[in-house]
């Protein structure tokens, strides 16, 4: 295998219902940095049916080239079909790096493709870098226990592949009108030869908790003491119009469902404001919220590690501080209301 044959950084573009997944836009941002450092092209690989128009967005977010497979057989994601397209395209154009979102689709596809190539695949990456000279991808992920990060390398194979967690990389500000090269590819696959069929897609009508979409998150930890104590978190969240987050210990105690868990084995969040109340600040928790805009910690132990990870910290008892905060906030809001009303 001659590594010089392999050039360029690729991002697998995940799309659904005619929109590009936000994790793919984030990866274009991260991929741009890697490509620039190496002095190579950044390409998107787009597979689907009626998806060609999405190339516009992909260029605006930083890609130089987009490889497009636009065929009815790709209407729904299926490992078997998408994998074939990706393998064929990779074989033909030989990228040095391919990045995927660590979503269920991205993981499924990347695992299958890496096995066939074969090559190494780093899972759930949270930090990416590349060696300028060698092109060696430095993909770091929280290792078992999570208090340690491990940099995973794939020295002897190309392309190098990684799935990357959503909400940890930053998308570029889109440049309107930025364009690039579209390379259209087709694949000869017969529906009869495919062993899986998507019969139906059922959307959940009840909206599930998606704390990763909230602007404000009030997260509580074991320091709230009990299920009843944890209701204080709900009260503050309601007052501020935010979502409720939790540490793993709280989820395990059964005070709230797993969908609310922030951290390594929960959700990664980047709200504009994050409250960590009665949370000690274990690294597994921090990795899930450290990119929040404004982090406010309330903890009665002044030595708690959370104070190393926040913008503003209050050393105190949650049951004393939070009720005052709720009261003050309600007062402030009603003042706002009054002044808003008098304005118009």
């Amino acid at each position: 295998m001659d590594f010089r044959d392999y050039k360029g950084v690729w991002v697998f573009i995940e799309q659904k219902d005619e929109v590009v997944a936000s994790v793919s836009l984030e990866l274009l941002g991260a991929g741009r940095k890697l490509a620039d450092k190496r002095g190579v092209e950044l390409a998107g690989i787009l597979i689907g049916e009626n998806v060609k128009h999405l190339t516009k967005t992909i260029f605006e977010y930083g890609a130089d080239t987009v490889y497009v497979y636009d065929q009815p057989i790709f209407k729904h994601y299926r490992t078997e079909t998408y994998m074939k397209a990706l393998l064929e395209c990779t074989e033909k154009y030989k990228p040095e790096i391919i990045l995927f979102g660590a979503t269920s689709t991205g993981k499924d596809l990347a695992s299958a493709v890496a096995t066939d190539m074969p090559t190494g695949l780093t899972a759930d990456t949270t930090e990416l870098d590349v060696e300028e000279e060698t092109g060696l991808l430095l993909a770091s992920r929280p290792a078992f226990g999570g208090n340690i990060m491990a940099t995973i390398l794939c020295k002897k194979y190309r392309p190098q592949m990684a799935t990357v967690r959503s909400k940890v990389m930053k998308a570029l500000t889109p440049q309107t009108g930025r364009t690039g090269k579209i390379i259209e590819e087709t694949i000869s696959l017969k529906e009869e030869d495919i062993r899986t069929k998507v019969l139906e897609i059922v959307k959940e009508t009840v909206k599930k908790v998606r704390i990763d979409e909230a602007d404000i998150i009030v997260a509580g930890g074991k320091g709230l003491g009990s299920f009843e104590g944890f209701q204080l978190i709900h009260q503050l969240a309601e007052t501020l119009g935010g979502a409720v987050g939790a540490s793993r210990d709280v989820v395990e105690a059964g005070w709230i469902e797993h969908a609310h868990q922030v951290g390594q084995t929960g959700v990664t969040v980047t709200p504009k404001i994050y409250f960590a109340i009665g949370i000690s600040g274990a690294i597994q928790h921090i990795v899930g919220m450290k990119n929040s805009g404004l982090i406010i910690a309330i903890n009665k132990d002044k030595e708690a590690p959370i104070f190393q990870a926040c913008h503003f910290g209050i050393v105190g008892d949650a049951f004393e501080i939070v009720p005052i905060l709720i009261e003050q906030f309600q007062m402030a809001l009603s003042r706002e209301k009054v002044s808003n009303n008098s304005k118009g």
């Binding site: 490992t79 979503t103 269920s104 993981k107 499924d108 990347a110 695992s111 299958a112 890496a114 096995t115 190494g120 695949l121 899972a123 226990g145 208090n147 340690i148 491990a150 940099t151 995973i152 794939c154 020295k155 062993r195 899986t196 069929k197 998507v198 019969l199 139906e200 897609i201 059922v202 959307k203 959940e204 599930k208 602007d215 404000i216 119009g241 395990e252 084995t265 504009k272 404001i273 600040g281 274990a282 921090i286 990795v287 404004l294 982090i295 590690p305 104070f307 990870a309 913008h311 503003f312 910290g313 209050i314 105190g316 501080i321 005052i324 905060l325 402030a332 809001l333 706002e336 209301k337």
Partner: protein
């Protein structure tokens, strides 16, 4: 119907504790358990067998002590257990793991053809979720990941109807058999093991294979040698700079915090008063 469930022995991270001051792992506190997702995978096999009849085998790659999780699976309702254990498997990444497991599956399939393989969505220690789809590719059978329900198994047509979880719902997939599923925890509830299973498990001796017991094995694809990924440096992530400590009485502290918050007041929904 012959279902093979792949099971992994993992340390119990629920019990493992992190010292928040030093951020180090207290390993002594971690007993080895059956990967929780794999317990659900075995349970699902038991459910399917309840409808179709047949045989459930479990397969694990790991140290000799991993016989414990095979016994555990027999308790849940598996019929046979296989452990592949060999120095040559050590240090495997997911590519080498799926290779070794697929070679064992090949041998199991010779004894009794395999109709379905079930894996957990991921192992709670390695946590990559890459082994299942990897095995499917090596066996050249379709993988269906993130399964939340096996709705129907049609033995005549050799098809299966599966619900695969999506971020906002699910998709209904029809797949040919044999296929490989990876299951979510919500697929079922682990049931109490019948006394008969417990007795069987206590006496059960799993089949143990070394590399030499498997056929056509390319040793260069095993273990550390066969792993394209290597763990480079390990590091403690730098903690973000400590922030501003608010001082004073609780009231004063909250007041300072309010000033900070009100700078962002556009974020807060201010309901128009009636």
């Amino acid at each position: 119907m012959h279902i093979v469930v792949c099971i992994k022995q993992v340390p119990d991270t629920k019990i493992i504790k992190i010292n928040p001051k030093t951020n180090t792992l207290d390993r002594r506190s971690a007993p080895a358990i059956l990967n929780p997702y794999d317990a659900h995978a075995v349970q699902e096999a038991v459910k399917i067998k309840g409808k179709t009849g047949g045989t459930i085998s479990v397969l694990s790659m790991g140290p000799p002590q991993a016989t414990a999780i095979i016994k555990k699976s027999i308790e849940i309702g598996a019929d046979r257990g296989y452990l592949i254990t060999d120095r040559a498997f050590a240090g495997a990444d997911t590519l080498a793991t799926s290779y070794a497991l697929s070679k064992a599956l090949e041998r199991i399939g010779k004894e009794l053809p395999v109709d379905m393989v079930i894996c957990g969505k991921h192992a709670i220690d390695g946590d990559t979720g890459q082994v299942g789809p990897g095995i499917a590719r090596r066996m050249d059978i379709p993988p269906v990941t993130n399964v939340i329900e096996v709705a129907e198994v049609n033995q005549e047509e050799k098809t299966v109807l599966i619900k695969r979880k999506l971020s906002n719902g699910y998709e209904l997939i029809q797949s040919e058999l044999p296929c490989l599923l990876t299951v979510e925890k919500e697929i079922n509830q682990i049931e109490y093991s019948p006394m008969l299973n417990m007795i069987k498990a206590a006496r059960y001796e799993p089949t143990i294979w070394a590399v030499s017991d498997l056929e056509n094995v390319d040793r260069t694809q095993l273990g550390l040698k066969g792993s394209p990924t290597i763990v480079g440096k390990m590091f403690t992530p730098p903690r973000p700079e400590g922030g501003k400590r608010l001082e004073g009485s609780p009231d004063e502290q909250v007041k300072q915090l309010m000033d900070v918050l009100m700078e962002k007041k556009d974020l807060f929904t201010i309901q128009p008063s009636k």
